[in-house]
Amino acid sequence: MEAMNATVKDYILTEFLPGERPDALDESTPLITGGILDSIATVRLVVFLEEQFGVRFQPHEMSPDHLDSIRAITDTVRAKRAEHA
């Protein structure tokens, strides 16, 4: 769980928030509704998640319900992995 959080956080900081202080981004920071993840960034994040964690996202899952925070992202990925387990 912690590892997944860290992986996702690292990716977001590196790809979308270069130079940002890591402690400014926590598990509940709004990503889509906060304007960090626009459509292009959302797609890139999803491609990363699919490759990194071996899951497959559906179009309807590219929404704030599933991707608006690091917690929501990891919850979604865990749920997907559990489904396929």
């Binding site: 928030l17 270069p18 940002e20 960090i36 960034a41 797609v43 491609v47 996202f57 590219m62 929404s63």
Partner: protein
């Protein structure tokens, strides 16, 4: 039976200082049972106990919010904001509903809002149409939940949509002939509720994991403000569910009031732009005119953003913490930024339904190619869906080249911008970046550049044809290099000001102080502004203002048409506004036209009342025509007058007046004996007539006639009847759009012109028949005052040569019931005086009656029977008080003197 408890994660709210867990109070789906009722009753008792523990600070905060809401709703009422959509009628529901909703237990609030919304439907549409609207909506919702395959439900919905579309387009007759206004009154609103939300709903329903309550589902479609607004933001279903009381209630309420304030500000600004700043196409003669036309066309969008702020603000008052619909869209700094800021709900809708599905399908091609394809799909879809949206509002499906160009160009620019961002990345930060001189100048330059680009693109979108837009832009060519240099300097100044403001803002920025939250001044300032607006808006206090300021306030309080559009309405072309593709005015007419009786019919050149002529006159009343037009019997006599039968030869002892004018004088929408001309004639004969002496007022007026028509009809008809005087009814728009149209037709038809001076005037403009309509009008515009003066002078000269008096009477339109603008009246009167007319005025003839009381209806501003009676009373008084002006042989008449007294 046990209701299944449904815990919603992470959703708590604070009401009056007490934290509540939404999940602990919502049960789904609700099943009425004794146990459930007992629990509900118990919850209510617990809720009442909770209310008694509320902190006084929260009570104060709630009271302050309610006070601000009361103020802003009063501003809406005083300024009649969106009155034509019925907003002012639901204000009491909104305010009372807000107060009641706030004290209800959370579990009851959704149901309460649904009931309130259905009540609004009945209030606005009446029981029959309101029930029809609700019934159709519930029927569509029921189809979504039929116990059949998902695909079959979608097919049924498409079928139902097709049938409703057929009724909307009036291809399919309304069953049983009931509710004849269903297509124009109910279906635009039903369409605004279901045309997009049904798609989102079905999309989310397919993936729904947490079942919604019935009130949630019904409430999603029947949103309280939706009954007033045919154009409604596409609220996302999952966002609608997710954001319900997802923040402390008071925070949401305050946000709602703030957004309503913002919406009202947008709408009042819109009125200023619409009433005072939008130039007539023919007035655009230079670079300055082009800039003004483009800028004001874009600024008219304030009405849409204002409406959306109002709508979402009202929803916030009931706990729907929806995100903002527009984010400072005038300050966008790139095309992508613009797309993200303007109509955000639409962008989200397109992303959800088109962008991500297209992108996921195409991503095997690579992220960037897939993104390009998805973006193209989004913009092509936006183009088609805008036409689809217009179909439900207007009943037709416009596919215009300018629409395609606008969306094609904007889409192309967004694609280029997106590819660039995907390759280079976009600067994102969690904290506000430091502002330097360089960054401030860069952002300011990009913002100004984007504003200019969007303004130009918007003018293309708003033009009916590409040719019309090219003509508009070409007018800039009439200006020299100095004008372009001035524009460049103005833009550079804007960039500098923008940068300076950013730097000043940076210096003023201070870290938030520790300790209790400092008092916020924005609600205080907004409340003070609202109170000031209410004060100046009250008739009693408005009287203290200087006349120009009072006039400005009065015009802002009228949710009506501008002088130019009013003129179009007077010409019987109100319907044409719907075809003008002007985003906002078309909307405003939807409900007004829906109120119009189906058998209303039309008057003027477009109807059967007139016949065309192949000369300067262009058209005239059709002799011996008889019909019911605008619900009133209308008869044209054998000489083409909308009047009684008269003999060509003047009977002995009769005083004849030739009466010239337009549709007001022709009496559109009132019976033959109710036109003010006939009322005056009857009264003259009744009160002043005696054995061997009678009065005849021969009405040579026709709908759409101008001063030029007046001169021409006198030449061709009136003199044959040996009039003793000429009475010409003039309005404030005599050198306006009607005359311009008349001259354009003369140019286009190339009819013989026997008047050398008029011929030279027209020739001096260089307008020729092979030019576009807009270009001809642009060229003719400057000579309108000259043509009006020439027409009046020629007419006065003809009267002098016949030894008969000529009188010009100013007749106010119904829109001028409260008083016509003094400068415009003076302008037309001076023109008539200079030509040699005696001038009278009927300004103030409507007395204390309002426009609504003296016009035919919301859809037609011609005077009704009362309006004609009032005008007749005013004209009769003028005639008897000034007999020497028109009846020299009866100046010593005792009856006249007695009547004058």
């Amino acid at each position: 039976m046990q209701a299944r408890a449904r815990a919603l994660p992470n959703i708590t709210y604070r009401y009056r200082g007490v934290m509540h867990d939404v999940g602990s109070t919502v049960t789904a789906p609700p099943r009425p049972s004794r146990a459930a009722l007992t629990r509900t009753f118990g919850a209510a008792q617990a809720h009442l106990r909770t209310l008694s523990t509320v902190r006084s600070a929260d009570v104060e905060r709630f009271g302050s919010t309610a006070l601000q809401l009361g103020l802003v709703l009063t501003v809406i009422h005083v300024f009649q904001v969106e009155q034509s959509f019925g907003l002012t009628r639901i204000l009491p529901l909104v305010f009372a509903g807000f107060l009641v909703n706030a004290v209800l237990p959370l579990a009851w609030r959704r149901t309460f809002l649904v009931l309130l919304s259905l009540g609004a439907a009945w209030l606005l549409f009446g029981v029959e149409y309101g029930t029809g609207l609700i019934g159709l909506g519930l029927g569509l919702l029921a189809v979504c939940h039929l116990p059949i395959r998902f695909g079959a439900r979608v097919a049924l919905l498409l079928l139902a949509g097709a049938v409703l579309a057929g009724v909307r387009a009036e291809w399919i007759p309304i069953p049983f002939g009931r509710m004849p206004r269903l297509p124009t009154l109910v279906l635009p609103i039903l369409g605004s509720m279901f045309m997009f939300r049904l798609v989102v709903y079905m999309y989310d329903l397919r993936h729904e994991k947490k079942p919604a309550t019935m009130a949630e589902r019904i409430g999603y479609f029947f949103m309280l403000p939706n009954f007033c607004f045919p154009l409604f933001p596409v609220v996302d279903y999952s966002t609608y569910r997710r954001t319900y009381y997802d923040r402390p209630a008071l925070d949401i309420y305050e946000k709602g009031v703030q957004w309503i304030f913002r919406g009202v500000a947008h709408l009042l600004l819109y009125r200023i732009v619409y009433l005072y700043l939008v130039p007539a196409p023919a007035d655009v003669q230079s670079l300055g005119g082009v800039v003004q036309a483009m800028l004001t066309t874009y600024l008219l969008y304030l009405r849409i953003s204002g409406q959306f702020h109002l709508i979402v603000g009202i929803l916030c008052l009931f706990g729907h913490n929806l995100p903002e619909t527009h984010r400072l869209y005038f300050l966008a700094s790139s095309f992508n930024d613009y797309w993200r800021r303007i109509n955000i709900y639409w962008k989200d809708f397109m992303m959800k339904l088109f962008y991500y599905p297209s992108l996921m399908r195409a991503r095997a091609l690579g992220v960037i190619p897939a993104m390009v394809i998805a973006t193209v799909v989004v913009f092509a879809g936006t183009w088609l869906l805008h036409s689809y949206q217009w179909f439900w509002m207007r009943g037709s499906f416009p596919l215009r080249a300018t629409d395609a160009l606008f969306w094609g160009i904007l889409g192309g620019l967004v694609v280029i911008n997106s590819v660039r961002e995907a390759r280079r990345g976009r600067a994102r930060t969690l904290t506000r970046p430091e502002v330097t001189v360089r960054s401030a100048l860069s952002l300011s330059a990009r913002t100004v550049g984007m504003f200019v680009a969007i303004t130009v693109l918007w003018s293309l979108w708003s033009s009916s044809t590409v040719e019309e837009w090219v003509t508009l832009v070409a007018a800039a060519g009439n200006s020299g290099p100095a004008a372009f240099a001035l524009l460049a300097v103005a833009l550079a100044a804007l960039i500098a000001i923008g940068a300076a403001l950013q730097l000043a803002g940076e210096r003023l920025r201070r870290p938030a102080p520790e300790g209790p939250r400092p008092p916020r001044w924005s609600p205080v300032l907004a409340s003070a502004a609202a109170a000031a607006l209410i004060l100046v808006g009250l008739p009693q206090t408005r009287a203290w203002l200087a006349p120009p300021a009072a006039g400005l306030v009065a015009s802002l309080q009228d949710d009506g048409l501008s002088a130019r559009d009013e003129e179009m309405m007077d010409r019987g072309y109100y319907e044409g506004l719907l075809d003008a593709d002007r985003y906002t005015n078309a909307l405003a007419t939807v409900q007004a036209l829906a109120e119009r009786p189906d058998d209303w019919g039309g008057a003027g050149r477009v109807s059967q009342v007139t016949v065309p002529r192949n000369d300067l006159l262009d058209y005239e009343n059709r002799p011996l025509y008889s019909d019911v037009v605008k619900l009133a019997e209308l008869n044209i006599n054998e000489f083409g007058m909308r009047d009684r039968a008269y003999t060509l030869q003047k009977p002995p002892g009769v005083v004849r007046i030739a009466f010239l004018g337009s549709s007001y004088e022709a009496g559109a929408g009132v019976r033959d004996d109710e036109t003010y001309e006939n009322v005056v004639e009857d009264r003259l004969n009744r009160e002043l007539g005696e054995a061997g002496v009678g009065y005849e007022i021969l009405n040579f007026s026709a709908a759409g006639y101008t001063v030029l028509h007046g001169f021409l009809i006198a030449e061709q008809r009136a003199w044959n009847f040996e009039p003793d005087a000429v009475l010409f009814a003039l309005h404030t728009n005599e050198a306006g759009g009607r005359l311009l149209s008349h001259l354009r037709v003369i140019v286009q038809r190339q009819v013989a012109n026997p008047y050398p001076e008029l011929r030279e005037l027209i020739a001096s403009t260089g307008a020729t028949a092979d030019m576009s309509e807009r270009e001809i009008e642009r060229r003719l515009q400057p000579i309108l005052p000259d043509v009006a003066r020439w027409s009046l002078s020629e007419l006065a000269e003809r009267c002098r040569s016949r030894g008969i008096p000529c009188i010009a009477t100013f007749v106010p339109t119904t829109a001028q019931a409260g008083g016509a603008p003094a400068d415009r009246v003076a302008e037309v009167m001076q023109m008539a005086e200079a030509a040699g007319f005696t001038t009278w005025t009927l300004d103030g003839a409507y007395g204390s009656y309002s426009q609504d009381q003296v016009q035919l209806g919301e859809w037609d501003a011609h005077p009704n029977v009362l309006g004609h009676r009032l005008l007749a009373a005013g004209l009769f008084d003028l005639l008897v008080k000034n007999p020497q002006a028109w009846q020299p042989q009866r100046t010593d008449d005792a009856a006249m003197t007695a009547a004058a007294q």
